[in-house]
Each structure stands twice: as structure tokens, then as C-alpha cells.
């Protein structure tokens, strides 16, 4: 497919069985992909087919079925490695989700490397999952946790980042795309500034990997965390990408089967990476499902996915900001992914979301696991509409139309 040709959301929706459902008796308008994406038939079929034709536990099975399952599981790993341009499939650790990936680094790397002389740098824009693990690890190790503030226009304060990064900084953990503001951060630049003071860089790719082309080598990131369920894959599978040398040198996180080489009653030695970090029976079928999701996205082309969302969010930004009393948080449409968090004067976000629900429109209301972002804007909660490959301008029109009626009902 050519990259100049746009996506066809109407065609794409036919691949997603959920859009055959009705919500409150109306056609479903799903604007909550930032929380979790819907699943195409291709992903559901790949998983069902594995259960029906190729299911067994992976690794160490001598029989054919286990060999086939192991092959599929490892093929998915290689597929995902290619998708984010990792050097090797050994740099892909399967975990439950981005949260677990970040916790893995926080505990395995953090606890064994950080001292009271060290600093960890995060940003005010982080999802709680890239903040709270560092708070815990800072408390355990005595390391100091510092953060880069958000500018009034919803970007990271790069001057502050420069001031805060210093020779004590051991790790800079930051998001590639805010799940509230939609801000796309300059990842390569931030990684390079972290490296210039000798710090490692961890990128929370939970929002960016599903929506933007990802090249971990171009970023030169040391760690990247992302979740399968936000990129058309199943729940229960996510990825920690880590540079191989770092993974090799880190102690294990969870202990048990598969992660060992040799065990005696007195001790154990560790398996090679990534298996050292994959204790216990992994989410085999979910990994294969994520592989199918990656195939689906690759077929569409990530450049086109991004272009589609960019155009859609620009349209939505214009239409929403034209409504009286609506205020959108974060940067203008040119610097954001397909996320719009907003407040409506005189109408609580819960009421906005509940009203839209009656119209068959699914949006999220609350703090979206990012209370500090909301604090920065002085609001406790927002309503958030987010877009993906199956959304189109009609969805935005219905959202705007319903919002107009909500404003009339609650404030009229």
C-alpha cells in the first residue's frame, strides 16, 4: 500500500467484530483507544486457531505440539523485534503490560544500581505507572527522584530538563506520548541528553508504539516499555525492550521455572536473556495474538496510521475548541497524537461521559492515571476522547453534536 493513500476507517471497522455491537441501542462510537484498543478479527482468529490447533506449553517440550507452540511464540518475539527495529529478538522480554515492564526495570535494575548519591529523573507528564515505581525504588534505595515540569502549552520544559540532568542522574524515565495531553515528546533528543550525562534512558512507549513508527535503535533508548492491548493485541501481554548488554548484566526480577539454567537445593544460575526475565509459563497465546496485531498494523503502515490520527485530531481539535465553554488541555493539534482531554465549563467530566454514553459514544472521564498532569492544569479530572485507525470524521461530528446537547442540558 502506498503511504500517500489514507486509511479507510469504514473498511477497517469491518475487521473489528465489536463494531457489530450496539451501545445503548446506537451504533458504537469508540473513543477510548488510549485506555485500550479494540481487536480485529485477525488477532482473535490467530488466538483461537492456536488454542484449537497448536496449543501446548512452550520450551522443553519434546513432542511436536509443544515444538509448534514454541515456534509460534518465538516467531511472535522476532516479529515484534522487527516492528520496533530491535537489534535482536533477545532484546524483547515478554511481560504483562507496560506497567510490569517498568516495574521490572525499577526492581531488577533500580534496586541493584541506585544509591543515596544517585538521582532518577522523570517528568510531570507521566502516567502513574512511570512515576510510582520510581517513587518506591527511590524510597528503598535512598536515591533522589526529580521531575521535569510541563510548560503551559503542554510540552516538556527542555531547559529544566537540561538543568535537572546532571552527573548524579542514573536514569531518565519519560513518556514518548502523554496519555492525557497527547503531547509527542522529542524522544531521540531526550535520550541523547540523558546519555550526555551518563544516564540511562527508559521510554514509556505505551501510547506511542501503537500510534507512531518506532525505531528503538534510532532513539538509542536503553529501555522501552509498551502494552499489547493498546495496539490491537490482547490483554495480558506487553513488552520490555532492553539493550542486550543491560539485560545481561541485570539480576532477575521474578524467579521460578524457565528463568534458570541450573538449580540445586543451594542455589541457581540464570538462563540467557530474555528467558532470565520470563519466569513461569508465559502468556503464550497472547504473545501470538500480539504478533498478529503487529502484522495488522504493519500492513496498514505506521506512517499512515500516524497521518490518519494527525488529521483526525486536528479536525476534532478545531471542532471541539469552537464549542462554548470547552477547554482542551495540552498542545495544539500539530504536536499531538490522537488524544484530546478536555473540560466543559459547568459540566463535570463524569456527566459529560455519562451523557455521551447514552449516545453510544465511549469516552473516559477521570484523571486517567495521571493526577500530576491534572494538578498542573488545576483540574481534578477531564473527559478524554482518543482516536485510532477505526475512527473517522463522522465519529467526531457525533461527539461534537452530543457535546453541544450535553452543555445545553446541564447548563441551560
Amino acid at each position: 500500500m502506498s503511504t500517500t493513500q489514507g486509511l479507510d476507517p469504514r473498511r477497517i471497522r469491518e475487521d473489528f467484530p465489536i463494531f457489530g455491537e450496539r451501545a445503548r441501542g446506537k451504533p458504537l462510537i469508540y473513543l477510548d483507544s488510549t485506555a485500550s484498543a479494540q481487536k480485529p478479527r485477525q488477532v482473535i482468529d490467530a488466538m483461537t486457531s492456536m488454542y484449537e490447533h497448536a496449543y501446548a506449553n512452550v520450551h522443553r517440550g519434546i513432542y511436536e505440539l509443544s515444538e509448534r507452540a514454541t515456534q509460534m511464540y518465538e516467531d511472535a518475539r522476532r516479529n515484534i523485534a522487527r516492528f520496533i527495529n530491535a537489534r535482536s529478538h533477545r532484546e524483547i522480554v515478554f511481560v504483562r503490560n507496560a506497567t510490569e515492564a517498568i516495574n521490572l526495570v525499577a526492581y531488577a535494575w533500580g534496586l541493584s544500581h541506585l544509591t543515596p548519591e544517585d538521582e532518577i529523573l522523570v517528568t510531570q507528564m507521566e502516567h502513574h505507572s512511570n512515576l510510582v515505581p520510581w517513587q518506591l525504588v527511590a524510597a528503598r534505595t535512598g536515591a533522589r527522584l526529580r521531575w521535569v515540569p510541563i510548560t503551559p502549552d503542554g510540552h516538556l520544559d527542555m531547559d529544566a530538563a537540561d538543568r535537572l540532568l546532571n552527573e548524579r542522574t542514573r536514569l531518565f524515565a519519560f513518556t514518548a506520548m502523554s496519555n492525557v495531553l497527547g503531547t509527542i515528546t522529542p524522544v531521540r533528543e531526550l535520550v541523547s541528553r540523558a546519555h550526555s550525562v551518563g544516564a540511562l534512558a527508559l521510554v514509556d512507549g505505551a501510547q506511542s508504539v501503537p500510534h507512531l513508527p518506532t525505531d528503538v535503535q534510532a532513539w538509542d533508548a536503553d529501555f522501552v516499555a509498551f502494552s499489547g492491548h493498546k495496539m490491537l493485541g490482547p490483554t495480558g501481554i506487553g513488552v520490555l525492550y532492553g539493550k542486550r548488554a543491560l539485560l545481561e548484566e541485570m539480576p532477575p526480577f521474578l524467579a521460578g521455572g524457565e528463568m534458570i539454567r541450573e538449580v540445586t537445593m543451594e542455589g541457581a544460575t540464570w538462563n540467557d536473556v530474555p528467558y532470565k526475565f520470563e519466569a513461569g509459563t508465559p502468556a503464550v497465546v497472547e504473545a501470538v495474538g500480539l504478533g498478529a496485531a503487529v502484522d495488522y498494523l504493519r500492513e496498514l503502515g505506521m506512517e499512515r496510521v500516524h497521518a490518519h490520527e494527525r488529521a483526525l485530531v486536528a479536525y476534532a481539535y478545531d471542532r471541539l475548541s469552537a464549542l462554548d465553554g470547552v477547554r482542551i488541555l495540552g498542545p495544539g493539534p500539530e504536536d499531538r497524537g490522537g488524544v484530546l482531554a478536555f473540560v466543559v465549563e459547568g459540566v463535570h467530566p463524569h456527566d459529560v461521559a455519562a451523557f455521551l454514553d447514552y449516545e453510544g459514544i465511549a469516552v473516559r472521564a477521570g484523571h486517567h492515571c495521571a493526577q500530576p498532569v491534572h494538578d498542573a492544569y488545576g483540574v481534578p479530572a477531564t473527559a478524554r476522547a482518543s482516536f485510532y485507525i477505526y475512527n473517522d470524521r463522522e465519529d467526531v461530528d457525533r461527539l461534537v453534536d452530543a457535546l453541544r446537547r450535553a452543555i445545553r442540558m446541564f447548563t441551560g
Binding site: 463535570h348 467530566p349 463524569h350 456527566d351 455519562a354 451523557f355 447514552y358 472521564a365 477521570g366 484523571h367 493526577q371 483540574v379 481534578p380 479530572a381 442540558m409 446541564f410
Partner: protein, 130 residues
């Protein structure tokens, strides 16, 4: 048109009863729900074991504000003994609508604050399980 936004609920939301300040209240309690930013302060005048007067201030969603407004009307003149027995069902009766778990928290915030105002936090335990 919408269950959740029945005429009466919207009426209490737009024209809240007993909203305002009270001079030297006998009891006052402020509570909030950090998840959505609903907050409410209940002020009580108590005489002979009864609620002589009630005022409240707050901000939040339709459900939490309508609940505070309706509750303020319902508790006037009631004995504290009776109020002690009030719980989730009472609030749902007042609102007259079915609520999911998230909105139930909004609906119960004013009663939780009211009971904490009278009995302290231990009086609120039974409402925590929403």
C-alpha cells in the same frame, strides 16, 4: 430521556437546596473523592439530638451535588438515632435512579460526610464498600 438525568436530579443540580455557609455550625466535615474531584462540606446545627439545620457547600458532578441537595432536605428535623441507620439504600431511594459502582461513590459522598460530621470517621465504615 436519560435515566441518570431525571428531571428531579437536574433540578437539584441546577437549583441546589440548602447550599451555603452556616455561622458557627455544631458540626462540620469536609470530604472529597480524589478520583473525580467531587467535594462536599456538610455543616450541621444540632439541638436535642435532632438536626435543626443543615447547610452544605461543594462542587462536583450532577449526582454528587443532587445527592447533597436531596439529602440536606431529607435530614432536617431527623433524630441522630435515625440518621445512624441511613445507608446506601436511603440515598438511592432519594435519587430514584439505578447507579453503577463509579457513580455510586459520587452519590454516597454527601452521606459519608454527614455521618463523619456527626460520629467521626468510624460512623462511615458501612458506606465504604461501594
Amino acid at each position: 430521556m436519560y435515566d441518570l438525568y431525571a428531571e428531579e436530579i437536574l433540578d437539584h443540580y441546577k437549583f441546589p437546596r440548602n447550599r451555603g455557609k452556616m455561622d458557627n455550625p455544631d458540626r462540620v466535615y469536609h470530604d472529597h473523592n480524589p478520583l473525580c474531584g467531587d467535594e462536599v462540606t456538610i455543616m450541621l446545627r444540632i439541638e436535642d439530638g435532632r438536626v435543626k439545620d443543615v447547610k452544605w457547600e461543594g462542587q462536583g458532578c450532577t449526582i454528587s451535588m443532587a445527592s447533597a441537595s436531596m439529602l440536606s432536605e431529607a435530614v432536617k428535623g431527623k433524630s441522630l438515632e435515625e440518621l445512624r441507620t441511613w445507608g446506601k439504600e436511603h440515598v438511592l431511594d432519594l435519587l430514584g435512579i439505578p447507579l453503577g459502582p463509579v457513580r455510586l461513590k459520587c452519590a454516597l459522598l454527601p452521606l459519608k460526610a454527614l455521618k463523619a460530621a456527626v460520629w467521626g470517621l468510624e460512623g462511615t465504615e458501612e458506606h465504604e464498600e461501594t
